[in-house]
């Protein structure tokens, strides 16, 4: 049994909002897809919460500053923090802007205990932040450090510490004693799983409905029961709940180590060339592990310059690192390294770092797998083709959006309604992919809507209905009485200059919507018509259409093509 790993987490609360705000006193919220994803303490005082709609936030606090989500801004600003921590701890892992994870055992032994290590790191952070350009906006920043035996526990502890620091205005690290992690986790609510461990909300809500409100309750069940109900996810839930950091033993042996290294004979200083070679290596790297049925969740990326300086950083992604994720991380690391070179030329306090790529080229890139587990989440289909097609389709969507603008490339999202145009909403494809892909696979139909049209539905639905004239046998315009009775049988439909003879018809079907709301209320009558085009040639053309009478005007809303 290996000794439990000790992990430390450093967390800066609401990093992206704090960075985006002009100064620490203005209320500011970062908005993505119309939802607040981060807000400053000043905005929080008005009651603005994460997950709120933009309009709601503006209603609570009218002079709130709304900023668009910009991951690159968060990343570049967070590098100040990363660098100051990196001076004390050699190997760190940056999860997202505002979150740093590192193995605590070495550093805390060196600096005399977990508590003093946390304080030392905080002091270093404070001085480096005060030096930087961001000093003004970072005054209100709440920083917390948590140390525990598992990642989940350390994250919760760090969050608690950050909240405590904010309220007391005093830095207070939170250390969970060694071997006490599972007891400490026990009374926590299961909601922490969705907040800190990427378990989706539906699962959490299901757990609560099953009466499992705390991690203790989840732990009390045997692992096999959870596995029986939830599959792989159940095993994962149990692992998280008991505060275990080790992944369960793999059934298949771990794949042999993959040497992924590229040396440049000529030092390279062009960033794009380096990224290109990382791209090639990352492809081979993920391929190697996927062939062995496993996936790399933690990776070390190493860059080495001509002068012998190294940039080494850990990257973690619980779902497994894909090629694109590795490239993205490498880019981030490289950019940070480049900018650190820039800065140190100006200031003298960090002389030992004055070796960006500007003066020396890069000679070596290496990817090292740090943690590998069996790939359980994504199973390729038999021929491995299915996910491939999905990937190429996603790429094509991206290209088409570049070509035509994102509003011209759309996917449908079900929203329900009795009108043919209402039941599906068209959303921009790029937007839909980033926000939710969970919409898939559900077969819904408009049948359970009262007043929806009967099956089959028309295949052509006009966004702007076509003006027509429907006459009876006397040539008078057809009307519908208050009791929804037609004034006479329809005989002829006139579209533009073309006359159609009505063979048969069905209806009228009244629809009355939202009578309580004068602005949005609708009253209309629908009629299905089978028409024959009056032509001179032998074969008549038969058309089935859906006509609508609204505000005394007949229109063709849809065509059964």
């Amino acid at each position: 049994m290996p000794a439990p790993r000790r992990l430390a987490v450093l967390r800066c609360l609401d990093w992206s909002a704090v960075v985006a705000a002009k100064n620490s006193t203005t209320p500011c919220a970062v908005v993505h897809a119309q939802r607040v994803i981060s807000r400053t303490p000043a905005a929080m005082r008005y009651g603005v919460q994460v997950g709120m709609r933009r309009r709601h936030a503006q209603a609570l606090c009218p002079d709130i500053e709304i900023v668009a989500h910009q991951p690159s801004r968060d990343r570049t600003t967070f590098d100040t923090v990363v660098r100051s921590v990196n001076e004390l701890v050699p190997l760190i892992e940056v999860g997202e802007p505002g979150l740093i994870v590192f193995a605590a055992r070495g550093p805390s032994r060196y600096m005399g205990g977990d508590g003093s290590m946390a304080s030392k790191i905080f002091e270093a952070l404070k001085t480096s932040v005060a030096d930087s350009r961001l000093a003004a906006s970072l005054v209100g920043l709440a920083v917390g450090v948590g140390v525990a035996d598992s990642r989940l526990a350390a994250q919760i502890a760090a969050h608690a510490s950050a909240v405590a620091s904010r309220t007391a205005n005093l830095f207070t690290p939170y250390v969970v004693e060694p071997d006490k992690t599972s007891e400490w986790l026990a009374p926590q609510s299961v909601r922490v799983l969705s907040e800190f461990a990427n378990i989706n909300r539906e699962t959490i809500s299901l757990l609560e409905r099953l009466g499992l409100n705390t991690l203790q309750d989840v732990c009390a069940l045997s692992e096999s029961v959870l596995a029986g109900r939830f599959g792989e996810l159940g095993v994962e839930l149990h692992r998280l709940a008991r505060g275990d950091e080790q992944y369960p033993l793999a059934v298949v042996p771990h794949p042999p180590e993959h040497l992924c290294i590229e040396k440049f004979d000529e030092p390279v200083s062009d960033q794009q060339i380096i990224i290109n070679s990382v791209q090639r290596m990352a492809g081979a790297f993920t391929e190697h592990y996927s062939v062995h049925g496993s996936v790399c969740v933690r990776i070390v990326i190493v860059f080495e310059s001509e002068a012998g300086n190294r940039s080494e950083r850990l990257w973690y992604r619980p779902q497994g690192l894909t090629t694109s994720a590795i490239i993205e991380n490498a880019k981030w690391q490289l950019e940070a390294w480049l900018s650190s070179g820039h800065e140190s030329h100006v200031g003298e306090n960090r002389v030992f770092e004055s070796h960006g790529l500007e003066s020396h080229g890069l000679v070596r890139v290496q990817l090292i797998a740090d943690e590998v587990r069996t790939d359980t989440a994504r199973q390729l289909r038999l021929w491995g083709g299915s996910t491939q097609t999905d990937e190429t389709a996603t790429q094509a969507i991206g290209r088409l959006s570049e070509l035509l603008g994102s509003s011209a490339v759309q996917v449908a999202k079900w929203q329900g309604g009795r009108d043919l145009l209402d039941s599906y909403e068209l959303v921009s494809a790029t937007h839909a992919q980033t926000t939710d892909s969970a919409n898939s696979g559900e077969q819904r139909s408009a049948q359970n809507w009262r007043g929806a049209l009967p099956n089959p539905s028309p295949s052509v639905v006009y966004a702007e209905p076509i003006q027509v004239q429907i006459n009876d046998h006397l040539g008078k315009l057809l009307s519908v009485s208050a009791r929804h009775e037609l004034s006479a049988s329809p005989v002829v439909v006139i579209i533009g200059s073309t006359h159609y003879k009505v063979n048969s018809w069905a209806g009228p079907w009244p629809v009355e919507e939202r009578w309580w709301d004068s602005a949005r209320s609708r009253r209309l009558v629908r009629l299905q018509l089978v028409c024959e085009k009056i032509t001179t040639d032998s074969a008549p053309q038969i058309l089935a259409m859906l006509a609508i009478l609204e505000h005394g005007e007949w229109t063709v809303a849809a065509l059964y093509n």
Partner: protein, 227 residues
């Protein structure tokens, strides 16, 4: 006879697969996209053969195109709908289209931009339903067709003429620039289900004339469809 051809095509694709594996290439995707049983007999190779163009014209063209695509999208192929205005999405779902793998693209109606868009869509999607703009130059059409054949996608061309326009102008549109491998010309004979105010539209009888380059002998079918 039908079965014989089907067997031969299957054998052929297996043989190709084996050869490809021996050469160390990645296994090729199947050469045909599956089509629902009830309309399979309409097509000459009892399936949508990759790299080909199918044209669905007439007054049941769009719903026929949707039902041709339905099974393939359920089995994981992506469908791009390019330049088709006013597609009824509820109808598409009723035909069995998997909407989570359907992308609607609205390119400009000029020849150049349209062909660039379609070529980009061919790169990513197995199936395309397209409406061809009025003026499409011969060279742009040729380029799209070449790309289609090299990328092994299937393109289904439909008429998308506005209701107010008469039928005679639609025949002179850009769809003529493509040499369709299979042409399915539909004409509704009658609708059933409605009767003088009662009932609702349920079935229709459609005459489908099958012709085109890949069709040896022109055939006529009378099909009752629930759409």
């Amino acid at each position: 006879m039908q079965l014989d051809t089907e067997q031969r095509v299957t054998e052929l694709s297996i043989k190709e697969l084996l050869v490809a594996q021996q050469l160390g290439a990645k296994p090729q995707v199947v050469e045909r996209l599956a089509v629902a049983d009830n309309i399979r007999d309409l097509l000459p190779d009892s399936g949508l053969v990759r790299g080909r163009i199918v044209r669905c014209s007439g007054d049941a063209g769009l719903s026929l195109a949707l039902s041709l695509c339905s099974l393939a999208t359920q089995q994981g192929s992506w469908l791009g709908v390019v330049g088709v205005d006013n597609l009824g999405l509820v109808s598409a779902v009723e035909h069995g289209i998997a909407l989570e793998r359907t992308v609607l693209v609205h390119p400009p109606k000029t020849s150049r931009e349209w062909s660039i868009t379609v070529a980009a869509a061919i790169e990513g999607f197995d199936l395309l339903i397209v409406a061809v703009p009025e003026r499409l130059s011969v060279s742009d059409a040729r380029r799209v067709q070449t790309r289609l054949q090299s990328r092994r996608a299937v393109m289904i061309i439909i008429d998308n003429t506005p209701l107010s326009q008469s039928r005679s102008t639609s025949d002179s549109n850009g769809a003529q620039q493509f040499l369709a491998d299979v042409v399915l010309d539909t004409r509704t004979k009658s609708w059933s289900g409605v009767n003088g105010g009662a009932g609702y539209l349920q079935h229709r009888d459609v005459r489908i004339r099958v012709s085109g380059r890949r069709v040896a002998r022109e055939r006529n079918y009378l099909v009752t469809r629930a759409d």
